[in-house]
């Protein structure tokens, strides 16, 4: 029997997801026995034309990480969609935009002027910014265009499954691969490899969480010596575990850092940041405006806090209006 074919591709991502794929360690040899990897630009020397030459629908699974930020990303994910039976959004960026999606708070002009002129270490006296084409010795070279916004993968092509995490852990990745290769397909649109419950459910500190968690003040991680035996919320740290999907085995909490939400929303939540903000507001232990404002003042960047990985997939997808006052 022919082995299933797997493709992997990256769009706007940091490379951490590619690393995470390799983190399955020696199991990658097992994987190589089970499947044929037909495309993986980071590790293997296949080109775009090799994908083009494959019959439509002949790739069993394409794992795509990173959000869609440029026209070539758009082109490649559409090509992979055509050639693949199953498309998997692998990692936070592909699923909801991830950290690069926070750039949706700014327009493209602001992005270019920041990166190519304002950054203190940039020296660019001629104010050169990337343009679509340039001539070198009568040869026209083309660059892909930057899209006005970063889009999660499912805003560009149909996505069959999601594997969450920034990056997905080796365990989550392996569980997801097992599901994909088992032939027993879960319902389309499912999150695979992770938990169906919130992070608290698997957190080792869950037993120490009081019936009602109430917060009177917020601290940043460097301001507190963490008691490793006590729920981080009760120590004044903003842990987003209650609003976030589990599956990571509370890696950050075990390292005494609060959850920042990289496993994204639970089922039925469409706007993770709004839901996470709602959760946090509900446990603030004050009833008068002044005290509530004082607690909220401790959040210097509410969008960056609650939408760290999900701004691009939120209801407004980023900044709602172009001009910045």
């Amino acid at each position: 029997m022919e082995k299933p074919k797997i493709a992997m591709y990256w769009c706007s991502s940091c490379g951490g997801c590619e690393e995470a794929t390799v983190d399955i360690a020696e199991k990658i040899l097992e994987l190589a026995d089970l499947v044929d990897i037909v495309f993986w630009p980071v590790a293997l020397d296949y080109k775009e034309k090799d994908v083009e030459n494959l019959p439509d629908g002949s790739i069993t699974v394409s794992l795509i990480n990173g959000g869609v930020r440029m026209t070539d990303h758009e082109h490649m994910v559409k090509l992979l969609r055509k050639k693949s039976k199953i498309i998997v959004a692998y990692g936070a960026c592909s699923s909801w935009g991830g950290v690069p999606g926070l750039l949706n708070l700014y327009g493209q002009e602001e992005l270019f002027s920041r990166v190519y002129s304002e950054v203190p270490t940039v020296e660019n006296p001629e104010q050169v910014t990337p343009s679509r084409s340039t001539k070198v010795d009568d040869v026209e070279l083309m660059l892909p265009e930057v899209l006005p916004r970063l889009l999660p993968l499912d805003r560009v092509v149909g996505v069959d499954y999601y594997v969450p995490g920034c990056p997905p852990t080796a365990e989550v990745t392996w569980r997801a691969l097992e599901v994909l290769l088992s032939g027993k397909a879960p319902p389309q649109g499912s999150v695979i490899g992770a938990s169906e419950k919130a992070l608290c459910d698997e957190c080792p500190l869950n037993g120490t969480k009081p019936d009602r968690v109430l917060v009177q003040d917020l601290k940043r991680p460097h301001q507190v010596i963490v008691d490793p035996e006590k729920c981080l919320l009760t120590q004044g740290l903003l842990c987003l575990g209650p609003a976030t999907r589990g599956g990571c085995q509370a890696l950050c909490v075990k390292a005494r850092m609060p959850c920042t939400g990289c496993f994204g929303p639970l089922d039925m939540v469409s706007d993770y940041g709004a839901k996470a903000a709602s959760f946090f507001a509900s446990i603030v232990d004050f009833q008068d405006e002044e005290s509530i404002e004082r607690v909220m003042d401790r959040l210097p960047d509410p969008v960056g806090t609650f939408y760290r990985y999900t701004l691009a997939s939120s209801a407004l997808g980023g900044r709602a209006r172009a001009n910045r006052k």
């Binding site: 709004a274 509410p302 980023g318 900044r319 709602a320 209006r321």
Partner: protein, 152 residues
């Protein structure tokens, strides 16, 4: 009326008429609106009312979706502090709105477009006053005019 239909509501005049989604608590504001109606008080027709059992049921997701789907303003109205039918739903609403206003500002939406009012079942006059005030305020701010990127 589903939120998705808000944008389909016809303009009633050439002048800017804001669309305002009103999330009204069943136990107080909704009754106050009823009282205003049966008392034949006049208030502006700019509100699309969604009745909920408590202001504490207003998920910030609803508000962001209302803005995305064409609302120029959102009014959340519940019971006075201490009067919540469910003990503390209105306090949760208060805290959520305070935090959400900050998020809205970062996203480029003026915080005045989201308003919270405490209106008891007997306060039809207060409701009418708040309705006039809010419509005036949103008219002064102008239409929301979301960026073309929002609806990709």
């Amino acid at each position: 009326m589903p939120l998705s239909q808000i944008s389909e509501v016809d303009k009633v005049s050439d002048q800017f008429e804001p669309k305002i989604v009103l999330f009204a608590c069943n136990w107080c504001t909704y009754a106050a609106m009823d009282l205003a109606g049966t008392s034949r008080m006049k208030y502006p027709p700019n509100f699309r009312v969604i009745r909920l059992m408590c202001s504490g049921r207003v998920d910030p997701q609803f508000i962001l979706e209302a803005f995305r789907d064409g609302a120029d303003g959102v009014l959340v109205a519940g019971c006075h502090p201490g009067d919540c039918h469910y003990m503390e739903g209105n306090y949760k609403a208060l805290r959520r709105m305070i935090l959400l206003r900050r998020i809205l500002e970062s996203l480029g939406i003026e915080k005045e477009r989201l308003r919270l009012e405490w209106i008891s079942a007997g306060e039809a006059v207060k409701f009418v006053k708040a309705a006039h005030e809010m419509v005036g305020q949103i008219k002064a701010l102008g239409p929301l005019q979301l960026s073309a990127q929002v609806k990709v």
